[in-house]
Amino acid sequence: MQELKARALELLKNGTVQRVLGWRIGENTYDPEPAFFDSEEAMKDFVYNNFCAANLSKYMIEACKLEGKTLVCLKPCDSYSFNQLLSEHRIDREKAYIIGVGCKGKLSIEKVSQAGVKGILSVTDTDPLQVTTLYGDTTVAYKDAMLSRCHVCKGKDHVVYDELIGESEDTVDADRFAEVAAIEAMSPEEKFAFFQAELSKCIRCNACRNVCPACSCRKCVFDSNKFDSTQKANVDSFEEKMFHIIRAFHVAGRCTDCGECSRVCPQGIPLHLFNRKFIKDINNLYGEYQAGADVEAKGPLTSFTTEDAEPSVVSQGGIR
């Protein structure tokens, strides 16, 4: 962290970059938040630890509209999102100075409380986590506190960067498509019951949309065209019902599977399942494709082959 902070400060001072996009100390030790830093004074609050899970690539859309370069800290998985935005011409590579930061798997305070720890006062990001609670001290194994997306990590190589700082550790210990396959194996009644239970928790806060680097339209179908203040309310019943299918479809073929949607959902809906189902189908039908891996690659939904499968494959046993 100190090396990263020192380097960021150096680049800020020598004028290479006008501002730094990173994480700032939050209210607690475990909730750092994304922030821009434009002075040495502001950099005092700069932090990078194992709780810094937020994907900063989406903030680059706004940063690229500003004067001068922005230093952005990207984790390996964030670099895929950055590349995807580059290929969609939403951001300007020339306006970004990318420091690829190491990642040992990101932690989630929700996972810590799910492990049965109550009254958390402070927590370290070490292995194991040393947790101070109202009821005494305890420890939680690092793997148990890790975000579920990190268990199915895409890899620790940055696909785009100017320089690398910090070490990474492999965290994969599960099959990326296991959850999706488990649902596919259910009967239609079971599938419907599962999604009905999950989706009826939705409060339409739009956090999944707002955090998603692929959801970057200037004008969103879910926004009210009349009142800014009603943007978070459902404008008609259609949106309410179909929101999740549409949200997932709009990012199909562009989703890098960064897992931010599931991380930010206040209701704990496993939103990544929709995205991952699309990714699984695309891989099966149109060949392996990882959004953001290659800036020049054509997306699976903006290309075709004459030999593509007919939609009837779905009713003939489905895509497995």
């Binding site: 999706v180 649902i183 596919e184 259910m186 239609p188 009644e189 079971e190 599938k191 419907f192 019951a193 599962f194 999604f195 009905q196 989706l199 009826s200 939705c202 179908v221 019943s237 259609f238 309410e240 019902k241 179909m242 999740h244 299918i245 549409i246 997932a248 479809f249 199909a252 929709f274 189902k277 699309f278 189908d281 695309i282 039908l285 149109y286 699976p300 939904l301 903006t302 075709f304 082959t305 004459t306 593509d308 499968a309 007919e310 939609p311 009837s312 494959v313 779905v314 009713s315 489905g318 895509i319």
Partner: protein, 145 residues
């Protein structure tokens, strides 16, 4: 729907202007019968159909939605139906994944010369939807109403 009445499904058929709509026209002028439950919506090309159109049709009470376009390779705009094919495959797979009966959605390629095919396809599709019954799942996924 009263108890004694036969279930009459509501079916939306998106037909491309150049092939399938002309196919439907031919079916009509050839006096080929297909159920009146099918409501045709003409679109410029099968790829004009946004997946939201299909969801919207279900939301508004459709029991089945069918998309008809030119045969692959015969698109008036050269490649539109190829894009539609990928899009619909993924959408149908997602609906299936969420537990919606997969017979409720269908894509068929019907050319302007295939009046007979149009009529057969529609008869078959209506029969399928009749057997599936009323659409309850996609009308309200969150079951708030």
């Amino acid at each position: 729907m009263s108890v004694n009445e036969e279930f009459r499904p509501k079916i939306v058929a998106f037909c491309c202007n150049w092939c399938s709509y002309a196919g439907a026209d031919l079916a009509g002028s050839s006096r080929l019968a297909y159920p009146a439950d099918v409501k045709i919506i003409r679109v410029p090309c099968s790829c004009r159909v946004n997946p939201m159109f299909i969801l919207r049709a279900f939301e508004k009470g459709a029991d089945g939605v069918i998309l008809c376009g030119c045969h692959p390779g015969d698109c008036h705009y050269s490649t539109g139906n190829y894009y539609a094919r990928r899009r619909m495959t993924l959408l149908f797979s997602m609906l299936d994944f969420m537990g919606v009966e997969n017979g409720r959605t269908r894509v068929e390629w019907v050319s302007a010369a295939e009046g007979v095919k149009f009529s057969t396809v529609m008869n078959d599709f209506v029969e399928k939807i009749r057997s599936l019954g009323e659409n309850v799942r996609l009308g309200d996924l969150r079951c708030k109403n």
